[in-house]
């Protein structure tokens, strides 16, 4: 189950967001060795966790937090523009109203099997794509692990924004990418994660009520919390 938190329902999710900051630290900083400047020990909240941020929280059946992701507008400062600009060395950093940045895409593998972890990953991708389609967000930028970039080529139309770059901190290669969030991508990701069950994405806000071309169709597929 994915729950989406935006400005409209933020007040109801104070505890969940705090738990997400702690989970992000545990998985990304302690586990994956991300080097986040000035991070508070035990608590990963950065300058891009703002009032405009939209969060995607993945829960298991017992409502344990398993994963998360966030979207930020690209017309205001965001990770690629302020921290990883050198990753976009092809044609610059896309900054448009209908382009958002996807970041802090994290799944706490913990005791999950590989296929369960893949499933949560896909469910977050699905929720992010459905939300984007329903809210007029046509493209997402993100800084992806090389393996995630490779996977994204299958899920969305994906284009590189720059050359792959290797980071010693976490012994990983990253590629900045831009992906198209289209109804076709939604269909494709739904097929991959066998998401015929509409409960898979649960929207806890009014995000789907905005007057956008795809909103009514998307709303039918979603269950309101």
């Amino acid at each position: 189950m994915i729950e989406i938190v935006d400005q409209e329902n933020r007040a109801k999710y104070t505890d969940e967001i705090e738990a997400m900051f702690r989970m992000r630290y545990k998985v990304a900083v302690e586990g994956w060795k991300w080097n986040i400047p000035n991070v508070t020990p035990g608590y990963d909240k950065d300058q891009f966790d703002t009032d405009d941020t939209i969060y995607f929280l993945a829960y298991d059946d017992e409502r344990n937090l398993i994963g998360c992701g966030r979207l930020n507008p690209t017309i205001t400062p965001h990770l690629l523009s302020d921290v990883f600009a050198e990753q976009c060395d092809f044609e610059g950093i896309p900054q448009e109203k209908d382009i958002f940045e996807f970041s802090r895409f994290i799944v706490d593998k913990g005791s999950l099997t590989h296929s369960q972890a893949v499933q949560y990953n896909l469910e977050i991708c699905l929720a992010v794509t459905e939300y984007s389609v329903a809210n007029g967000i046509n493209q997402l930028t993100w800084l992806a692990y090389k393996s995630m970039y490779t996977k994204s080529v299958v899920l969305w139309k994906t284009r590189p924004l720059g050359a792959p770059k290797y980071y010693e901190d976490d012994d990983s290669t990253y590629i900045a990418a831009i992906i198209d969030t289209t109804p076709l991508a939604v269909k494709r990701i739904r097929r991959f994660c066998r998401a015929s069950d509409p409960k898979i994405v649960c929207l806890g806000s009014n995000g789907m009520n905005k007057k956008l071309p795809n909103a009514s169709r998307a709303r039918k597929r979603l269950v309101r919390a």
């Binding site: 092809f90 044609e91 996977k151 299958v154 050359a163 991959f192």
Partner: protein, 242 residues
């Protein structure tokens, strides 16, 4: 990054992804790598040849001479070839010569035989979407002389080329992904150890009926014909480790 290089990569990616036939993808990719001095390409999915028949290999495209391709497949060189061995533990592109330096005695024999077909050096791009490699794109040249920006461009194009082929052949990892539950995997693990349903029921504090149910569900998901087949498929798909 030099702009023409970037635009070249983006346009070849666009061209590759607009193709509907595997051979055309290979031809475009081949034409692209010749600009960097390469003269052969192999695009291969990493499979265990003991578990998969040649006819089941979904992605195996190359510009290799037929005689060498046939020998490599028939003799199951994939098991001993130092490049496939090195691929199993590498996430970053590597030179053939680096892999050759780690060759076993039999691996060295394969390398020597390949020299007769004019294979000298090359570079391998491992393709992975998660834990292990799915396969690779291996390109050969007389001498590999790449600038870091060339390597970066080639790697990006290789990723798009491989994944587009997966799309075309319907072999993408997730399309064949089967969601076995934690319990189903646990039960299959004990079946693989030779335990009876009664024994598994005792270990897991469940009824024998429940164990049968879990195995039945797993069998349906895996599309298997019996217990042994379920175990074999679960191993192939990495749910249980033998």
């Amino acid at each position: 990054m030099n702009k023409p290089f970037a635009l070249d990569a983006l346009s070849v990616i666009e061209e590759i992804e607009s193709q509907e036939h595997e051979e055309d993808v290979l031809a475009i990719f081949y034409k692209f790598i010749t600009k960097f001095g390469f003269n052969s390409v192999l695009i291969g999915q990493l499979v265990n040849p003991i578990l998969k028949q040649k006819s089941d290999l979904p992605i195996a495209l190359s510009t290799w001479p037929d005689e060498w391709s046939e020998r490599w497949l028939k003799e199951k060189y994939i098991i001993h070839d130092p490049i496939t061995q090195y691929l199993l533990k590498s996430r970053k592109p590597f030179l053939w010569s680096t892999a050759h330096a780690h060759a076993t005695k039999f691996g060295k024999k394969i390398v020597n035989e390949s020299r007769d077909f004019n294979f000298k050096d090359g570079i391998v791009f491992p393709i992975s979407t998660g834990t292990g490699p799915l396969g690779c794109i291996s390109i050969g040249a007389d001498i590999v002389d790449l600038q870091p920006k060339d390597l970066a461009i080639l790697e990006l194009v290789a990723i798009h080329c491989y994944m587009h082929l997966e799309k075309l052949t319907g072999q993408d990892e997730h399309s064949s992904m089967i969601n076995l539950s934690k319990r189903e995997i646990e039960v299959l693990h004990y079946v693989a150890e030779g335990k009876t349903n009664w024994e598994i029921a005792s270990i897991l504090h469940l009824s024998e009926h429940s164990i049968k149910e879990y195995l039945h569900n797993a069998s349906q998901k895996l599309n298997s014909t019996n217990r042994a087949h379920s175990v074999s498929l679960a191993i192939q798909r990495g749910y249980i480790i033998p």
